[in-house]
């Protein structure tokens, strides 16, 4: 264990889940593990089965991404639904290096089912093959396409939100900053689920979560290094790639931010919420005690996992039902 600092204990129920899952993967992800991780887990439920079970249908589109290259998006809606509903633009997680547009999709399916939302999820290109700015610019291109086609997609442009978890949370925050600065699509809200915001590796939480839990300090350095290469931690990093570097958070949509108290992203997520408040932007922040990164997905049955999802879904419900 490279643990050096005292840290809050894990929630007892989550600690037990970690004990069982520890065999599947060590806390520290290093670059040579990327190809294996991209193969996904054996026995994962096929996406179309997952969608069908939730009562959601999918239509794929090829759209212009960064540099006018083709990228894919999927439009998800309640099976057979017509008419206009709120929109959710989704940027998936996976440390900037793994995953696809359906990674973590289970987090937004209830919003489609319960609020009649139409979701667009974008297949942004992954680092290290496609370093910054490919991922963030692909995401922004997806958002622009969504807004321009809102009418055809059945999205109420007044109720379009952006949502993402982990690296997807960082991309969501960065995309919202781009939309503000380029006078792009108006967003009604940003759901930043344990977002990855800061490349500088300087917080107390990153030092505390070193060799333990999920997506530890080493993993985080692996992700950021893939995205930024030698620029990681230097002055040559944009606020869109690493939103923690933004000094002006005014003029942004209301934010929902959640994280666990035992994860690398804790301090940068709390700081981002604080910076939003300082700038006069509305934000709701939840730090779940004893939570490791992504615990709502890895331990959905746990008391604290259920509480996290309930708080997040309640925020979205208040926003989308307005």
């Amino acid at each position: 264990m490279a643990e050096t600092l005292p840290r809050p204990p894990f929630d007892p129920e989550l600690e037990a889940v970690l004990a069982v899952l520890a065999e599947a993967l060590p806390p520290a992800i290093t670059p040579e593990m990327i190809p294996v991780l991209r193969q996904g887990l054996p026995g994962a439920i096929p996406i179309d089965e997952l969608l069908a079970e939730a009562g959601v249908e999918r239509v794929d589109h090829v759209i212009p991404g960064y540099g006018a290259a083709d990228i894919e998006v999927s439009v998800l809606r309640r099976i057979g639904s017509t008419g206009v509903g709120p929109g959710v633009f989704h940027t998936h997680g996976g440390g900037m290096i793994i995953g696809d547009r359906f990674t973590g999709i289970g987090q937004i399916l209830p919003w489609i089912v319960e609020h009649g939302a139409v979701a667009v999820t974008v297949e942004y290109r992954l680092a290290p093959e496609f370093p910054d700015p490919y991922p963030i610019e692909d995401c922004y291109a997806g958002l622009v396409w969504t807004a321009e086609n809102a009418h055809e997609l059945g999205i109420d442009p007044e109720r379009l939100i952006i949502a993402g978890a982990s690296a997807g949370g960082g991309l969501a925050a960065g995309t919202a900053l781009l939309a503000r600065d380029r006078q792009g699509p108006a967003l009604a809200g940003q759901v930043l689920i344990y977002p990855m915001l800061d490349d500088r590796d300087e917080t107390v939480s990153t030092a505390q979560v070193n060799g333990v839990g999920v997506w530890d300090r080493t993993s985080n350095i692996t992700g950021w290094s893939a995205l930024l290469g030698d620029r990681r931690g230097t002055a040559d990093v944009s606020i869109y790639a690493a939103p923690a570097r933004a000094t002006d958070l005014s003029g942004l949509p209301p934010a929902f931010i959640d994280c666990g108290s035992v994860e690398v992203f804790r301090d940068e997520d709390v700081a981002y919420a604080t910076a939003l408040w300082h700038a006069g932007t509305q934000a709701e922040l939840h730090v779940w005690p004893g939570g490791f990164h992504g615990f709502d997905q890895m331990a959905p049955q746990s008391a604290i996992g259920q509480a996290m999802v309930a708080a997040r879904d309640a925020w979205v419900a208040r926003l989308l039902s307005q």
Binding site: V20, L25, S166, G294, Q301
Partner: protein
């Protein structure tokens, strides 16, 4: 990150994923999780609603961890726990994995309920994370002084020796049994050296280490007899055994018997008699084994290396 490491899901109904079940429940109990967390674990692992009736109160949780109200229609398979009963709501279908789940579920509930009972004293006096004052107070409830000389035995959880208590801690769920000069050692278990009662956490650690050294050939292991060898046992990482251990593991059973006789008898002649083999055969085997091992198991240092490797191998072997 669920895509990275998955999540706890229902077990394969036809396979007995023993280790996963034991690890999960032991970790829950070790971390001090509550009864509802245990219900959620049983439900998640089995994929059906799990329930507990304790002192006329029923609590149920479904496989997604949510509370279920009302009375259950089926309550099998089930196990008794002190003051009540736990169950999985499977019904008449027999599912292999259920037995292990309900067994460990019952065990975990028993330990957790016992924590709130007055006789949790033994669990407190062996807990190294408790302040000494707490431990001494609990010793008094066991009618012991801090300076009393005691031994403690660690038994497998299913070995229900009279007077033993289920305990959860760093070593998982085990039974503990305090031994004094009037109480005979159990038939199976690890036994601590004599320790001052206020040093029982150390005694318990030694007893649990000794328990790991037990097996069919050594049903009882007395840590007091191992002396400083116990330090080697405690420091040993079974996932990275040293060469002496892997070499020993590679020998066939007959060679192991010969080796055992060579080390534990005074002479080659004695070893030949114990094995019922000709003297010259044993001598040839001795020479061959010395080559295989890389040391002479009859030399003083060789005996020490063999005995240490043999102890450590018990921690590796299933």
């Amino acid at each position: 990150m669920q895509e990275l490491v998955g999540r706890i899901t229902a077990l394969d109904p036809e396979a007995s994923e023993t280790l996963k079940v034991i690890t999960y429940f032991d970790a829950l109990v070790g971390a001090g999780a509550g009864i509802d967390a245990l219900l959620r674990a049983a439900a998640t692992l089995s994929g059906v609603t799990a329930g507990l009736e304790h002192r006329d109160r029923i609590r149920r949780r479904d496989a997604s961890g949510r509370q279920v109200d009302g009375d259950p229609v089926v309550t099998s398979p089930a196990r008794d726990v002190p003051g009540g009963r736990v169950w999985l709501e499977r019904g008449d279908i027999h599912v292999v994995a259920d037995e292990m789940v309900v067994e460990r579920f019952a065990l975990a509930v028993t330990v957790t309920l016992a924590r709130h009972e007055p006789d949790a004293a033994l669990e407190i006096v062996i807990d190294r994370d408790r302040p000494r004052a707490d431990r001494v107070a609990s010793l008094a409830r066991l009618r012991l002084d801090a300076s009393s000389r005691v031994r403690i035995a660690a038994l497998p959880p299913d070995h229900d020796e009279p007077g033993s208590v289920l305990l959860a801690g760093h070593a998982g769920v085990l039974r503990g049994l305090l031994l004094d000069s009037t109480r005979e050692a159990p038939a199976r278990g690890g036994i601590s050296p004599w320790v001052r009662a206020d040093l029982l956490p150390e005694g318990w650690e030694a007893a649990t280490l000794a328990l790991r050294l037990t097996g069919p050939a050594h049903p009882v292991v007395d840590a007091g007899e191992l002396g400083s060898l116990l330090l080697a046992v405690g420091a040993f990482d079974p996932s990275a055994p040293p060469e002496d251990v892997t070499t020993l593991a590679g020998l066939d059973p007959r060679s192991r018997d010969v080796l055992d006789a060579l080390v534990n008898t005074d002479s080659l002649r004695g070893a030949s008699a114990a094995l019922g083999m000709h003297h010259s055969t044993v001598q040839a085997r001795h020479e061959a084994l010395t080559r295989d091992l890389g040391y002479d198991p009859r030399s003083p240092l060789g005996r020490a290396r063999y005995l240490t490797a043999e102890l450590l191998l018990r921690l590796v072997a299933p």
